[in-house]
């Protein structure tokens, strides 16, 4: 989990740098600050378990085991990308890693994940699907339609709401009167609110929810309270609607630092081992950047190849 979080962070820091330098076109929504959620959830999942992600999904891909070369190549629109450069930052699919799809339409992944779960159930597979979305998605009709349908059909899906406090600029307090966890519960399924800055808390809650899904007991709603360090996109500081003080307060509870301190305090890891992990991860990220930068753009024939199957 620690290594996953470090990779998520270092890769994302590089993404922001590459974005600002003009190497990543279009949009990119950084995951910095939210790493404990992807790491904690995916640590419970098996390789054959699936995830459905969203526009802020680089961390999910890392945590589920997508090679960083494929992630960065996709972000740069290169031919070695997960989706051959046809998807971009907001669209990830790597079936080997269990990343089914990530949608760029807020809430849109929820009904789709319900269909994936339906297929798993009908195939009598021992697996489940985790659907990641943000606090903003809980205000969409797709959320309520999807969660309700999964509840009624008792499907093997876990709904993970990453409450990073803002839907672009609008805080949760101005868009939602109910607590988010009540929204899951309102559909007749268990809901739990956890500290999304604590990877161990996320892991513990995920263990219960995922085991419930796999036992055929139906969906669970998890609200993971977290914070995104950047603005909505890599282009944005978020200081138009947030104070530096607020950002600093959340950063003081940084999920990676917290976990590092815990591991050190319990003598599960030495500072040398931490430094080795960081150095190795940094090298992997640098190699992935070089790999992606050296890859060609897709040839023009890709434009028409996959319109029809």
């Amino acid at each position: 989990m620690y290594e996953s979080m470090v990779m998520q962070r270092m890769l994302e820091e590089k993404v922001v740098e590459l974005y600002k330098a003009g190497f990543i076109p279009g949009l990119a929504h950084p995951y910095m600050g939210q790493e404990a959620i992807a790491a904690g959830i995916c640590a419970v999942l098996h390789k054959e378990d699936l995830i459905v992600s969203n526009h802020r999904g680089h961390g999910h891909s890392v945590a589920k085991g997508v090679p960083e070369e494929a992630i960065l190549s996709e972000l740069m629109g290169k031919d070695a990308g997960m989706c051959l450069g046809l998807g971009g930052s907001m669209h990830s699919t790597d079936l080997e890693a269990g990343v089914v799809f990530s949608t760029a339409i807020v809430g849109g992944g929820i009904p789709l994940a319900v269909g994936v779960a339906l297929a798993l159930k009908m195939d009598k597979k021992p697996n489940c699907v985790v659907c990641f979305f943000g606090d903003g998605a809980t205000n969409t009709g797709a959320f309520h339609e999807g969660v309700n349908l999964a509840a009624v059909w008792k499907l093997p899906v876990v709904f993970v709401c990453e409450n990073n406090q803002y839907a672009v600029s609008v805080p949760v307090s101005k868009s939602t009167l109910a607590s988010l966890v009540q929204r899951g519960q309102a559909h007749g399924i268990p809901g739990q609110s956890v500290d999304g800055m604590s990877v161990l808390d996320v892991y513990a809650a995920a263990s219960v929810a995922i085991s419930r899904a796999k036992k055929g007991e139906g969906p669970t709603f998890l609200e993971c309270k977290t914070y995104r360090y950047t603005g909505h996109g890599a282009y944005d500081t978020g200081l138009d609607y947030r104070t530096q003080q607020e950002i600093d307060e959340w950063k003081a509870r940084d999920p990676i630092k917290q976990f590092e301190q815990k591991l050190s305090a319990e003598k599960l890891v030495t500072s040398e081992e931490i430094e080795n992990i960081r150095a190795a991860t940094r090298a992997r990220v640098e190699n992935a950047v070089k790999f992606a930068q050296d890859r060609p753009y897709p040839s023009d024939d890709l434009l028409t190849r996959f319109v029809w199957a």
Partner: protein, 322 residues
């Protein structure tokens, strides 16, 4: 040959495909015990059980989302949206997700879901239960669009749709559900993108869509007694659209009439006329589009009659250009 109604033909095709392939499943509002509000899924629950014939909550976006998710996992869902008007309730899954799964993922996913729906113009159901807007989806690359006009076409096309690898929007017509037609006893699959010459003729080409095919044939009967020889083409699928067969016919007749139950602006006829004009401008003497005016469908029966395209209006337009 046997005689079946349009609704029975689709029902028979669904049952045959479900028997043939256990990955075919049916979901939608009231498709189970009720057999669909138009009885198109009648008997499927009894034969195939509640796992494969699923009544859903009133959640169109979740119905199509579930179909997309199941399709990318290897199922062949046939989802029913009760009225075409309700497609706007699931526009996100229908437009932003389903048609783009294969493309956006660089071919890693395929989504062979069939979305069945029907339009009800002519049944006095008012402005929110009458609309027919297939050209919206002709403007959405990645989803095929079928518009069967006869029981045999409906059966053959839906079988092709279910077995194909692409998403299909299958638009039925409620006014046709009770219409009867001959169906081959042996299994018949009708290819997409192949227009059917419903009546050969030499003086004018009428490209008619769905319910208007029957109206065009009736208009052709009226006009034949006046010495006007009408060719009626039924494209059967709008995506892909068999432009070649239309062009071939227009090159022969030099007159093109399109007929559909959509509103006229940016309708199916607009696209057909544009394609023919681009490729055979020299051959065309006259072009007429017969469609609904750009007005929401009215409720009151006399107003609805005035609003809808029909055989007499079609015949009158043809007389003007021949």
């Amino acid at each position: 040959m046997k005689t079946l109604t349009y609704a029975q033909a689709i029902n028979e095709a669904l049952a045959e495909e479900m028997r043939r392939d256990e990955k075919v499943l049916v979901l939608g509002e009231d498709v189970g015990k009720l057999g669909g509000v138009f009885k198109v899924t009648k008997g499927l629950l009894e034969e195939f059980g509640p796992e494969r014939v699923r009544d859903t909550p009133l959640s169109e976006n979740a119905i199509i989302g579930a179909a997309v998710g199941a399709a990318i996992m290897g199922y062949r869902p046939v989802a029913e949206i009760m009225y075409m008007d309700f497609l706007h309730e699931c526009g996100d899954q229908l437009v932003n997700h389903l048609p783009k799964m294969h493309f956006m993922t660089g071919g890693k996913l395929t989504a062979p879901a069939v979305i069945r729906t029907q339009y009800s113009l002519g049944r006095n159901t008012g402005a929110q239960h009458s609309q027919f807007f297939p050209s919206l989806y002709m403007n959405t690359p990645g989803i095929m669009v079928a518009v069967p006009s006869t029981p045999a076409d409906a059966k053959g096309l839906i079988k092709t749709a279910i077995r194909g690898r692409n998403p299909v929007l299958f638009i039925e017509c409620a006014a046709l559900y009770a219409s009867k037609g001959q169906i081959p006893e042996e299994e018949t699959l009708i290819p997409f993108g192949k227009a059917d010459v419903k009546r050969p003729g030499t003086d004018v080409t009428v490209v008619a869509v769905s319910r208007m095919v029957g109206e065009a044939l009736a208009a052709a009967d009226i006009l034949s007694s006046e010495g006007i020889n009408v060719e009626v083409l039924d494209p059967r699928t709008l995506v892909p659209l068999d432009t070649d067969t239309i062009l071939e016919s227009v090159k022969k007749t030099a007159r093109l009439v399109t007929a559909e139950d959509s509103c006229i602006t940016c309708g199916v006829g607009a696209e057909i006329v544009a394609r023919v004009t681009e490729r055979a401008m020299d051959c065309i003497e006259n072009v007429v589009r017969i469609a609904c005016p750009d007005i929401p469908a009215p409720f009151s029966p006399p107003l609805q009659k005035a609003y809808m395209p029909a055989r007499d209006k079609l015949a009158e337009s043809i007389r003007h250009i021949v």
